[in-house]
Symmetry: C2
Subunit: 234 residues, 2 copies
């Protein structure tokens, strides 16, 4: 029995339909095609803190987030968590192993009450051949992730922690420019994990950047960027 089977399926049809029809990779399909996909998928809910899948689990399904937030992380040899990415509604996961070997290399954990739409590997492959446009959507997503991941690797390989923080902050700024306020999408602890460092170092570096007058910490999750240009020169 896999971990998802232990959970209550969501039998509400409307909710399930909403789940399927809203996800970006299916959005362009017509009513009839959506029905076909709906029939082959199911909705599953997870509580905060529950593990959706863990390293070593057989990977035979694609999970599309409908509601909530999911943390994808890996463990280093030493057992330390490395945050790989956060998933929001519309994002999907589980795909890596869908096309290759069948074991997950990462962990997926619900950060709050989360609803996901699950598609079996074999079913998905059928859809991909039948509706080639879905492949293009997934290829695009993969492409983005690959780029992000390789950029991250490059940064880890030789940038200082300070530079990584600066790059992270300025990239967040680009996303939605509420003037120069950055809302951290995760806790400082998770940020440390994501940036490949420790909470202590994050704390110190933020303090340093603030002392230099480059940023201002308005609250734990809210950072005002005072000097963008200088920040990038760090």
């Amino acid at each position: 029995m896999t971990s998802i089977e232990k959970h209550n399926h969501d039998h509400s049809l409307e909710s399930h339909k909403a789940c399927v029809s809203l996800v970006p990779i299916f959005k362009h399909l017509d009513e009839e095609q959506l029905d076909e996909i709906m029939a082959a998928t199911r909705s599953v809910s997870f509580e905060k803190g529950e593990i959706i899948y863990r390293e070593g689990d057989e990977a035979d399904s694609l999970y599309i987030i409908h509601k909530g937030k999911v943390r994808i992380y890996r463990l280093t040899e030493a057992g330390k968590e490395q945050l790989v990415r956060l998933l929001n509604p519309g994002d999907f996961t589980g795909e890596t192993a869908l096309f290759t070997d069948s074991v997950h290399e990462s962990y997926a954990e619900a950060m709050m009450e989360t609803k996901v739409c699950v598609i079996q590997r074999s079913v998905l492959q059928g859809f991909l051949l039948k509706f080639p446009s879905i492949s293009l959507k997934i290829l695009q997503e993969f492409s983005n992730r690959l780029n992000t991941s390789e950029t991250q690797t490059t940064r880890f390989s030789s940038e200082t922690v300070e530079t990584r923080i600066a790059l992270f902050l300025t990239e967040q700024m680009d996303q939605k420019n509420d003037r120069n306020i950055v809302y951290l999408p995760m806790s400082k602890k998770d940020l440390a994990s994501y940036l490949g460092t420790t909470p202590e170092t994050i704390s110190r570096k933020f303090a340093e950047l603030e002392a230099k007058g480059l940023i201002r910490q308005k609250s734990t999750r809210q950072i005002e960027i005072l000097e963008v240009d200088e920040l990038l020169l760090v």
Copy 2:
């Protein structure tokens, strides 16, 4: 004029056909389909040291290696090279930007005389919709790369250089088990870049591992693994 247009196209039909028909992502197609793809692609050759594309170049083509060897690397903020991967015949590159933005984030450099098969973005997208099975092949490849890249990121984030070397060596061993001899697929300099460290450190760590009796350096590129289990405990 992009960099590839500066080069001699390979007008030999047989060679071009060999190029197209041999690549894994097209292998399963029939004669007629191959002809269609051949017509829409072209072969281009590069000398040792030539750059196939560089960071910032418009990315509008997929490159499939037919002959030779290619280094894909990125530059860090500080201008240091980070080796991302090596391409051998049958591998492809240029795809990342094919589905998203249109600018390369990495460099591709021919390490020896190299022949590649080039497909324009728009043409490729057409093929993907027409022959959905190609998408599956590419998805599979992406999936592998993504996994490799995320594994690499995780390792960079907190493993020591020694551990990264040990993991690299044992993984190489798995590939082809000529007893316990590992043939390094690249120079130590490139290996340093790939593992996110410096040639000096690589040199020292190899010497340490040898002193501990875990490995033996038979020649520059040939490493004998003496104690696999201990190596993994480093």
